[in-house]
Symmetry: C2
DNA sequence: TTGAAAGCGCTAACAG
DNA sequence: CTGTTAGCGCTTTCAA
């Protein structure tokens, strides 16, 4: 173990290669490769010697070189909006599990809802030669992906469809879910219902708004402009929007919240109010059961798993036309959505 | 756009290389490399021709080859326990932000609290030649990392210290936080306080238990065996543990929950009970403000950011002895921790 | 300003 | 069963 000649110790930052292992074990380079990759055709004795050399040297195969030679990286890239959002954690984890089952690693990136950043991440992943890409798009134009897809990078969009290209997508039923949620409020006697959602450039936001309008139309109810607020999900903005539609001569008696961020803030606003206001939110939230929040639940883990499975099916060579899967949502009644409007209303 | 000779179209799955770009632009390979990497010494006219060829061919530099030559990958690996746990989302996101600021990509993996899986992930990351590693350890022995660290892979442990090697670590003050939380309960009149925590092999679990015992000792209170339950954070297990210590002849009048998973379940258990029981939980939880849950808050994003900054300082060549940073926790009183024990107690 | 040649560490193809 | 050679796509070095 202890070497006397200090300059013979492995230098810091230098990694042994297969060549080094081969020299130490007194075998050929290819034999080392065989052992490292568990290929057949190596004497147990030779294998043992190679193994010893590997351990002694602390050898670890350089996958960059391997990738360069083999063409495949056994890794996939996931671009989402914000890993810190509790909606994306389970999604990301589900993707990871599927990747793991296929022996692939996951590279992650948050676009922060910025189209340029999305593109930057996607292209960086492509430069790393990920085998496939799962994208929750921030931008609305994905033609920049055409050369990549042509080059064989499998791509699946999740939560929102791709823009201006034909690609696989796995979505939740935003329209249907919102429609059901708003219909639920209508069924409990509400006539003046507000909608607070994310920015209109986000597909799910407009789909949910469409669902809201459909439900109102189904019930023969007009929608006042002041009842609809699309924009950032920053707490201040949501708070202002909520307070605006809850005051004035004709306040709403119920609110439909367009996503988990909005719901959380609306719950806080409503908690500080005298008269109860009904609420249904899109996306389930932790502890919503204890707070009695009625929600339209979408399972983000299923979204991720479904997308990842589709991706690997493509990587396994399945060659069918791109298609879109829409996953159903579930209404979970817990109280807040069953509050009736004040009698005078 | 439309090519008539179908067999002249780029074949599916084949990517253009710098050589292809060079041929098309009528320049040398190195000139393409210069343009792609924004190096000086290229005529604007030449550059334009190269750019055109790049766009026409849909060329994207192969970073595997680049890495093989340069030695650095501009990527770091993050191994955590479970990306779906809301505690790790912000941590991961914070690491990502720092990495981004340093031009590095993030490879992510969940160990699922399994030591073998942790090692598997870490070594896979090392094979990809990540420049650095941020690890939330699941296992207790990290000697397998010695060759990697010797080879120059910067490594920082987060949330829990490394086992059997000397390495940088960024931790929360589990001991001090738990001690403060339990002291808070004592200050509100409690004498019989339960502790429900994670598995004893997890460092933070035992540290928090130590803090609990210290606070009890500080107050001159004995701890009955039935008041302490360490184990899985599965809801059923936590529920059973909570119900056990809340029943019997001498039930606890307050519970200290060892982490966010435990807190969530305990809150559910207590919600179904007749008499109020005090609760302080380690980790803040979304909507805990609305539920009035008193917590010992630790900022997981700060944990991640601090670790990542330290990692990049190492990568920038700072060469000091490994050290441990302990971040303070904050008690946030919201009601559940200020409930007093029943008078008869 | 530009390009030719060498080589990073590995695997594929082929020989012995 | 084992080893040799070529070459993946890029950057480095050096020469023009």
């Amino acid at each position: 173990m202890a070497e006397t000649a200090r300059h013979h110790e492995p230098r810091y930052g230098i990694r042994p290669t297969m060549k080094d292992v081969a020299a130490r074990a007194g075998v050929g380079l290819k034999t080392v490769s065989r052992v490292v990759n568990g290929e057949a055709g190596v004497t147990p004795d030779t294998e043992r010697r190679v193994m010893e050399a590997i351990d002694a040297l602390g050898f670890r195969r350089n996958d960059s070189a391997r990738v360069l030679r083999k063409g495949r990286t056994a890794s996939i890239g996931l671009v989402l909006e914000d890993l810190a959002d509790p909606f994306y954690g389970p999604l990301s984890r589900a993707v990871e599990e599927v990747a793991r089952a296929h022996g692939a690693l996951l590279i992650n990136g948050s676009s922060a809802e910025d189209a340029d950043r999305e593109q930057e991440l996607v292209l960086a992943f492509c430069a790393r030669r990920v085998d496939g890409l799962i994208v929750i798009p921030a931008g609305g134009d994905h033609r920049y992906l055409e050369p990549e897809i042509k080059a064989g990078v499998a791509t699946v969009f999740v939560d929102r469809p791709a823009g201006r290209i034909d690609a696989d997508a796995v979505l939740s039923d935003s329209f249907g879910g919102a429609r059901e949620g708003v219909a639920h409020l209508v069924a409990h006697g509400h006539r003046r219902i507000g909608f607070i959602g994310d920015q209109p450039r986000i597909h799910t936001a407009t789909e949910r708004l469409r669902g809201y309008r459909a439900a109102m139309a189904d019930a023969g109810l007009a929608v006042a402009d002041e009842w609809v607020a699309l924009g950032s999900t920053e707490p201040e903005r949501v708070r202002e929007a909520a307070e605006a539609m809850l005051s004035g001569p004709e306040p709403v008696t119920a609110v439909f919240a367009g996503n988990n961020r909005v719901t959380v803030t609306v719950v806080r606003v409503l908690a500080g109010r005298e008269h109860p206001v009904a609420l249904v939110g899109f996306d389930d939230i932790e502890l919503a059961d204890l707070l009695g929040i009625t929600v339209i639940s979408q399972d983000s883990a299923t979204l991720g798993r479904t997308a990842a499975e589709r991706l690997f099916r493509r990587l396994d060579g399945v060659d069918e036309a791109p298609s879109t899967v829409v996953l159903p949502t579930t209404l979970i009644a817990r109280g807040s959505g069953e509050i009736r409007p004040p009698a005078a209303s």
